[in-house]
């Protein structure tokens, strides 16, 4: 079933909506949650909670693409769960992953407003459209889906060390790209 069909089911308040959504993208959602939580049960709970949120949000919302919309909810649910689980501990993995970008993305005083953050996001999007498809995938999988290097390596058909190397170069290129557009790091 295509995304519009699934959304139509949500609009009709059909309980098949969740089943269809799960059938089509369930594995993706679980993967996203697992990337953060590394625990199957927690991941499944997050995905369930996300389904409930989607059910509550559609209608009125009509997201496109649907998968990103739900993935975002799943990821946020997972991050919240992760933070809850890791309360009081240091070095949680999602933060470590993002810390890889701290040297590139502007400091807090430069990007503290929502508008500035959106500008940075827009630039990153433009950057991703301009680079090699495989590199874009590595970036998105690593920093949006919070995927592990081993998993990315498997997905793109490269060795893990090659993926790490590429990620490092992508970050350097991104830094240059941002600086050229007046976003200082």
């Amino acid at each position: 079933m295509d995304d519009s069909g699934i959304i139509r089911l949500f609009y009709e308040r059909s309980e098949d909506a969740v089943a269809e959504l799960s059938r089509k993208y369930g594995k993706v959602f679980i993967k996203v949650a697992m990337n953060v939580l590394h625990d199957r049960e927690d991941a499944e709970e997050c995905v369930n909670d996300a389904y409930l949120a989607v059910w509550n949000n559609i209608p009125p919302e009509n997201p496109s693409p649907l998968v990103t919309y739900v993935c975002r909810i799943v990821k946020n649910q997972a991050l919240n769960r992760y933070r809850h689980n890791m309360k009081g501990r240091k070095n949680n993995e999602p933060d470590i992953c993002i810390e890889e970008l701290e040297e590139i993305i502007p400091s807090a005083e430069n990007a503290e407003s929502k508008a500035e953050c959106e500008a940075v996001s827009r630039c990153i999007s433009d950057f991703l459209r301009s680079i090699d498809r495989k590199n874009a995938m590595i970036f998105v999988r690593r920093f949006w889906y919070l995927d592990g290097y081993d998993s990315i390596a498997n997905a793109v058909g490269l060795s893990e060390s090659a993926v790490r190397m590429r990620a490092s170069r992508i970050k350097a290129d991104l830094k240059k790209y941002l600086e050229e557009r007046g976003i200082n790091v």
Partner: protein, 346 residues
């Protein structure tokens, strides 16, 4: 920049970019594989598919050494439903959170005979994969055990069997002699341990109605001696549809005493067996009345006009029998999880 802010910046990159790498993962992967390798993979896949098709046509049943486990879906869904609803829509059997929405979706699916459910969140995963699983056996427990003993297994999609004319239908109709009905996960574990030398297992998971329609009984309780003196047909005639459910009205204390004697005699041979006695209070539902039952019991769920209690062998005391029969609002006694060894004429 704080991690939260970083996360927000990354989170807001354009949706289509994010979606592209979620949806086209395999396509992207394969596009980078050299075409020679891709061609080889396709060839191997084609040969595999041909072999599989050939196998399907020549296999009228499971391999000779296979053990087929029938794991009928019983009242799990309803029980879970009641568990969820009566506990505020949050908890299931194992104390996990379940959204009532998801539950509704699953229940609806089961109603249409599309999906068969397990108790617990494992079912979510299995639903995604289009695989059916058994109640009351938790799937993770099942697979852990199977993996532990190195048992090769597959779970067969009954819907496919049911709708696929010919080959699979024949397979289902030719139920092998080793048919097990497994009412508890403990029995299931024991069976796996006992039969772990079987090289190949198939779990054919079917809805309860279908199971009962085929009138399959538990082999461990169907020794010939068990059936002596019992008019099976007469017993069956008392059972309107559901062969594993004994439905009988008890109008006198004497009948219940006979039942008690019968159960105690037969349960002695099956000390681990449990029986659910489900009492339908047709005229009113009142949880409080259970408080006066002078036996140990486990309250399973309370819903609508129905109260279910689980009683272990030996727990049917004269007081309970008297209590039940003395109540004017008890007009039907249902025995569930109990096969047809009960002679209504006794």
């Amino acid at each position: 920049m704080r991690s939260d802010d970083l996360m927000k910046c990354i989170d807001r990159i354009d949706d289509d970019i994010v979606a592209e790498y979620a949806e086209t993962e395999k396509k992207a992967k394969y596009s980078w594989v050299k075409w020679e390798i891709a061609a080889c993979l396709m060839l191997v896949a084609a040969i595999g598919a041909m072999l599989a098709l050939t196998g399907l046509k020549t296999h009228a049943g499971p391999p000779d050494m296979s053990l087929v486990v029938w794991a009928p879906i019983q009242s799990g869904v309803d029980v879970v439903a009641e568990q969820i609803y009566t506990s505020g829509g949050e908890e299931d059997y194992y104390g996990k959170k379940v959204s009532s929405l998801l539950y509704e979706a699953l229940k609806n699916a089961e109603k249409d005979n599309n999906v068969f459910l397990a108790i617990g969140l494992q079912s979510v995963k299995e639903l995604e994969n289009g695989v059916m699983i058994a109640d009351p056996v938790p799937v993770d427990e099942l697979t852990k055990l199977l993996d532990k003993y190195g048992i090769y297994y597959e779970i067969i999609d009954y819907q496919k069997i049911y709708h696929d004319a010919g080959i699979y239908g024949e397979f289902v109709d030719n139920i092998p002699s080793a048919v097990y009905m497994l009412p508890t996960s403990k029995q299931f574990k024991n069976l796996i341990i006992e039969k772990k030398d079987y090289p190949y297992w198939r779990f054919v998971l079917i809805p309860e109605k279908e199971f009962n329609r085929r009138s399959v009984f538990r082999p461990e309780r169907t020794e010939a001696s068990d059936w002596e003196g019992i008019n099976i047909e007469k017993v069956r005639s008392h059972v309107p549809y559901n062969a594993s459910t004994m439905v009988e009205s008890f109008e006198s204390t004497e009948q219940l005493w006979n039942l008690r004697e019968y159960l105690l005699d037969h349960w002695a041979a099956y000390p681990e067996c449990e029986i659910n006695i489900r009492i339908d209070f047709a005229k009113k539902a009142d949880k409080a009345i259970l408080e006066n039952i002078p036996v140990s019991y486990e309250l399973n769920f309370v819903s609508g006009p129905c109260i279910s209690i689980k009683i272990k062998p030996g727990d049917i005391s004269p007081e309970l029998v008297k209590y039940i029969t003395d109540r004017n609002d008890v007009d039907l006694l249902l025995l569930t999880d109990f096969d047809l060894h009960f002679d209504p004429n006794c």
